[in-house]
Symmetry: C2
Subunit: 257 residues, 2 copies
């Protein structure tokens, strides 16, 4: 090896490059999430220990890379990061074909089990506090018979579990899927009531999943996640059968009048 090959030009980053790298790391690792508002330029420059003009250069680069968006007089925000996990065409397909929905459940089943296992292994104290709070919220909402609050806490619990997995890719993809689920893209949550009118089973499943994670039990957490998704699948199959029966009965009623 010639000596020239041993010594390469020094790769000395400019201050701007270093700032960009640091902020990108926060985004890539999922610590800075989409929509998050960054501190003001003056505040952030102070926190980073750099000058405001240089911070602005870095933010400009990040904006050019579609990672942040700045609005005059409002602030700087982390951009919409997750492309939708599925294209609109695929979402429409799901709406048209019930069988596709079960493919989605199969995928989610694997992902949720994976996330539950990782969460049980890796959850931080902050993660656990958040999960414990959400379990309490879910239980209270159930006692209050507040379906809306219960549903929202349900989504938040799953989001908290995925966050606790500490796996950025999983977090990004599942966040997109949860956002779509929240908007009712996949299914009507009322189906859950088909075989669990009181919602007690759903509550127990969430509590078991949460406690398994709080108690660092990966195998138990994985099983709880799988049981939960299997329950959701059974509920939906029953819901779809019930709707078919009701549709047939309605048609018969029309014909007999």
């Amino acid at each position: 090896m010639s000596e020239h090959a041993i010594f390469e030009p020094v790769d000395h980053d400019s201050l701007v490059d270093t700032i960009v790298a640091q902020i990108e790391d926060l985004i890539a690792s999922g610590i800075l999430k989409q929509g998050h508002k960054l501190p003001s330029e003056r505040g952030l420059a102070e926190k980073l220990g750099v000058s405001r003009p240089k911070l602005r250069e870095a933010l400009q680069m990040l904006e050019d890379r579609d990672l942040v968006v700045t609005r005059h007089g409002e602030g700087t925000f982390v951009s919409q990061l997750t492309g939708n996990a599925m294209t609109p065409a695929l979402v429409a397909l799901y709406a048209r074909h019930g069988a596709a929905f079960f493919d989605y459940l199969e995928y989610r089943r694997a992902q949720e089990a994976f996330a539950a296992r990782l969460a049980a292994e890796r959850a931080t104290k902050a993660d656990k506090a958040r999960i414990a709070d959400l379990l309490a919220t879910i239980e209270q909402a159930w006692k209050n018979g507040d379906g809306s609050a219960s549903r929202e806490a349900d989504f938040q619990l799953h989001a908290a579990i995925v966050d606790a997995s500490q796996n950025a890719t999983l977090i990004h993809i599942m966040t997109s899927i949860y956002d779509m689920a929240r908007q009712g893209v996949f299914y009507n949550r009322d189906y859950l009531m088909t075989i669990d009118g009181s919602g007690r089973q759903l509550l127990d499943q969430h509590l078991e999943l949460g406690h398994a994670i709080l108690e660092n039990a990966p195998d138990r957490a994985e099983k709880a996640a799988l049981d939960h998704i299997d329950f959701v699948e059974r509920s939906f199959r029953a819901g779809i059968e019930q709707e078919k029966r009701e549709a047939m009965a309605q048609k018969r009623k029309i014909l007999s009048q």
Copy 2:
């Protein structure tokens, strides 16, 4: 987590820090070996793409850390890096006590097998070219009956194999041991001739070891290294026995005159 904890002061290295890090990496990885003369300051500054004053600052830091030494009018050299693998007192002990020598062989046996295995897995094309050259040199030296050249190529082959292991710690430690072996610190190489007068077995062992590495055969390389060290051990035991017999015969001759 408070936002202040999310954003930490930017860790922006100075140019000097970056130069120091790059040269330290070369030393730590074994690419720059002790005693190696670096390019002139003017040449190195050009290769690194930095100014000479800044390079000098970096070299001063490296000298403060005892990694390089500069001599006015002569150049800059990588410092003596490996403390001797053994203290002078231990070396003297080896010289006094033959049994300790076999401890050394036992240690070397394990290290050489490890190195041979890694080398068979990791050798670069340059490593292989170097090893192939040395095998040819060893064979030619044997054919020429040139014991001195054969001995030197022997050391170089073992050094090349350890380099090919790409393990910096192994390289550093074994380099120190080979340097001592070269200086006859451990044993008299003539012992090798006790059961291998023509040196043919030694040659075959070196060729087998080298070819195993060139052909990416880790198990074969490891076995060849072990066989080689075992042969060396047998030779030395035989050599010691022969010396004892000759010493006794000499004493008998004196007494019978």
